[in-house]
């Protein structure tokens, strides 16, 4: 069963993603928050409450998605992570999953793929 009240946090430097994805997540029944950088997320009060992290891979000028993943692992914050990326290739997904990610979605992704990834993530949690 999907916990529809679970907090899904989006970390992406792209504004349109930060606007649109939380809206969809809410329509899907999740609580949603969005941050433009890993640093902002780490500094927020969401770290402990987040049930699933939807994380961009490349975020210029700051910590990348995989770096945040390592940082959280270092803090023993085991938040399921779904990576999203606009320019990944066939090697990206296996690599990230090998490092502990639940899923890696290549943009643009549909609602179905998102739900499936979230389901997997929340199951993990």
């Amino acid at each position: 069963m999907t916990d529809r009240r679970a907090l899904v946090t989006v970390v992406d430097d792209d504004e349109s993603v930060r606007e649109s994805l939380p809206d969809l997540l809410r329509e899907l029944g999740f609580a949603a928050r969005a941050f433009s950088s890993a640093e902002d997320f780490l500094a927020s009060d969401c770290v402990d409450r987040t049930s699933c992290l939807i994380l961009d891979i490349v975020m210029p000028g700051g910590m990348s998605g995989p770096e945040l993943q390592r940082e959280l692992a270092g803090r023993r914050q085991l938040i399921p992570i779904v990576f999203i990326t606009a320019n990944g290739d066939e090697t990206t997904r296996p690599r990230l999953i090998a490092e502990g990610a639940v899923e890696c979605l290549l943009k643009p992704f549909g609602e179905k793929a998102l739900l499936s990834a979230l389901s997997a993530a929340l199951r993990v949690a």
Binding site: S20, E27, L28, V58, M59, A86, N87, E111
Partner: protein
């Protein structure tokens, strides 16, 4: 002259002469020389007919004092002279002028029968004509002297033993001597012995002996009153008809000024020749053009210095066809033999391209042009030039290679990297569109539809669709140039477009980009796509050079600036691995790469493009880590004409196709 004695014994015609003797008187009257007899007391004793005719004496003058006879008054000291003649018995002479007539008057004693001297007899010899001819001679001589003295060249007359007799004014002036001090002085003592020359003495002697005419002799460093001079001496033998005496006329011609002028001219023309040879050599060196000549009959071949340089042969070595054959590329030897054979057969002109294979296995490309003709000896000779066109040929080859490489680069390498950028740029809005559309559907499908929310998501959908559309527009702009065209390009704008399309790649490599694009940058005249390919290439190289860097920020600084006043420069400074042990020089060589997937052509192609834009592309190692690549190209006004290279830009269909596969 012996004095004729006249003895008067009688009276002359109508005159009272003692011991009159008609026969004698008759004889005296036939003499046309006036004769007048004067007694001891200076009275006229008698005269002959000529005296009456010429001197105007009349019988009445007999017995008159001689001083009273007007014609005799012209002999002022006649009485004293007569006294001396009577006393001494020795003749005397006097000159007499009577009107325009001149006479020489001889005064002789005369005796009577007792042999006592009775008086003097005056005979008047008319010398008027003689005197006139003497005057004329003197007159002519003075003219001659005046003429000779005006001759600028010194002249001197020598005796047969070569002693100085007389010279003209120029002669005395030249040697600073007077007539007196040089009279009789041997010529060889003149001018501090300058003329004491074997080439002068012997010919002078020979000339005087009549065997050889004298050939002019040049005497250098002759001491004269005007300093040391160079003189040409000429000599002529002088002789008077009927006289055996020989004299020598020596002329001196001062050629010092001419010699100096000639020496200066020689120096000048030597200098001019040297200069023009130097110019030619320099021109040959600069243009890498040597010259040669070939005498067909003797196979005598001559090369200019530059030709030796081109063939890389020691200039001391004589040029032979064997030497040339040894240098010519084996594949061109048959052609060379054909050209030689044809030139031998037909002469004429030829022009051909050839190659040399140098000892270090490098290849040189030559352009040979020759013109055949007859030289001044009438021999067939070919003269030509041999130009080292290696650089040009390599540039052409590089260019043609670059053309195909560029097409390849655009389709494979660059487009591959671009694909990531394009994917990112397009996928972001696509992602937004799908997400928003999904949200919208859900809002509208709810039991109580959230129309306001749906409206907002539709608005965002449109915005993201527009964003995707802009990406496509930008791509179309970038790839719309099917053929190379030169246009006015804002380097900053072109750079920004490249950056925009490369952001994904830069982000993937976690590159921190710091654009420092100068304000008010003058536009350049360029092929925009090519220029952007260069920028993209440099940018991707920089990004890749930093991909393994973890101990420092992967900072990339892109700067644009004015350069050298009329140029524009772009520099790309990375913090990557730098050149390492590979060195800067190698990186521009085609097919040199340090990247596992690289083709090693990016930089050489980029350099070709920049050089085609009259620019320069270079690389330097940073003081700190990394490298800086830069190019500079002239600002728009400086580029003349179009860039004559056609490079196939990636076809828009290729991009669309690539996008379709994502």
């Amino acid at each position: 002259m012996t004095a004729p004695r006249v003895t008067l014994t009688g009276s002359w015609s109508g005159c009272q002469v003692a011991n009159g003797d008609d026969a004698l008187i008759n004889i005296l009257d036939t003499v046309d020389v006036p004769i007048v007899a004067v007694r001891r007391d200076f009275m006229i004793a008698g005269f002959n007919k000529a005296a009456a005719d010429v001197l105007g004496l009349s019988p009445a003058d007999i017995g008159r004092a001689s001083r009273d006879i007007s014609v005799l008054a012209g002999l002022p000291r006649l009485e004293q002279q007569c006294n001396r003649v009577i006393a001494s018995g020795v003749d005397s002479r006097a000159d007499l002028r009577d009107g325009d007539k001149w006479f020489v008057v001889r005064i002789s004693p005369y005796t009577k029968g007792d042999r006592q001297v009775a008086g003097a007899v005056l005979t008047f010899t008319n010398v008027t004509a003689f005197r006139a001819s003497i005057d004329q001679a003197i007159y002519e001589r003075e003219w001659t002297k005046a003429i000779i003295n005006t001759v600028a060249d010194p002249l001197v007359v020598l005796s047969a033993d070569q002693r100085i007799q007389s010279g003209n004014r120029a002669f005395y002036t030249m040697f600073g001597v007077s007539r007196d001090e040089t009279q009789g002085v041997p010529l060889y003592e003149l001018g501090k012995g300058a003329f004491d020359l074997a080439p002068l003495r012997a010919p002078l002697k020979e000339m005087l002996a009549g065997s050889h005419p004298f050939q002019p002799v040049e005497a250098d460093d002759v001491f004269t009153a005007m300093g040391q001079r160079t003189l040409i001496l000429d000599a002529r033998s002088l002789a008077l008809p009927g006289h055996s005496e020989r004299r020598v006329l020596v002329t001196f011609h001062d050629i010092t000024a001419r010699k100096q002028a000639e020496a200066a001219k020689d120096l000048r023309s030597e200098e001019e020749l040297r200069r023009s040879e130097a110019f030619l050599a320099e021109a040959q060196r600069l243009s890498a053009t040597g010259s040669f000549s070939w005498r067909v009959a003797t196979d005598e071949i001559r090369w200019s210095d530059e030709a030796y340089r081109i063939y890389e042969v020691d200039p001391a070595q004589p040029v032979t066809f064997d030497l040339i054959r040894a240098r010519v590329h084996p594949e061109n030897r048959v052609h060379l033999e054909e050209v030689i054979a044809r030139a031998r057969r037909d002469g004429g002109d030829f022009e051909y391209e050839s190659r040399l294979l140098m000892p270090d296995r490098s290849v040189k490309y030559l352009h040979v042009v020759a013109h055949g003709g007859r030289n001044h000896n009438g021999e067939m000779e070919l003269i030509g030039t041999v130009q080292d066109v290696t650089e040009r040929r390599l540039a052409e080859e590089a260019l043609s290679k670059a053309r195909s490489e560029l097409a390849h680069v655009a389709r494979v390498t660059t487009l591959g990297a671009l694909t990531a950028s394009i994917a990112h740029e397009v996928n972001q809005p696509l992602s937004g569109i799908i997400t928003n559309a999904s949200t919208c559907l859900r809002m509208l499908d709810a039991d109580s539809p959230n129309v306001d929310g749906a409206r907002e998501t539709v608005r965002r959908t449109i915005r993201d669709a527009n964003r995707a559309s802009e990406v496509i527009t930008r791509l179309r702009a970038l790839f719309s140039h099917r053929e190379t065209t030169t246009e006015t390009v804002d380097l900053n704008e072109a750079t920004r477009e490249v950056i925009a399309l490369s952001l994904a790649e830069l982000q993937r490599n976690q590159v921190i980009l710091r654009p420092e694009l100068a304000d008010h940058l003058p536009p350049v005249s360029a092929d925009r796509v090519q220029l952007q390919q260069v920028i993209l290439n440099l940018l991707l190289n920089a990004s890749e050079a930093m991909s393994d860097v973890d101990d420092r920020p992967r900072e990339l600084v892109i700067r644009t600036a004015r350069h050298d006043g009329d140029r524009v420069r772009l520099t790309m400074q990375d913090a990557g691995v730098g050149f390492g042990h590979h060195g800067v020089d190698k990186i521009f060589e085609p097919f040199y790469t340090t990247k596992s997937g690289g083709m090693g052509i990016g930089l050489s192609v980029s350099r070709s493009i920049i050089e085609r834009h009259h620019g320069r592309l270079w690389a330097t190692a940073n003081d700190g880590p990394g490298a800086t690549f830069a190019f500079s190209i002239p600002a728009a006004a400086e580029v003349a004409g179009n860039i004559s290279v056609a490079v196939a830009a990636p076809a828009a269909t290729d991009v669309v196709h690539a996008l379709g596969e994502l």
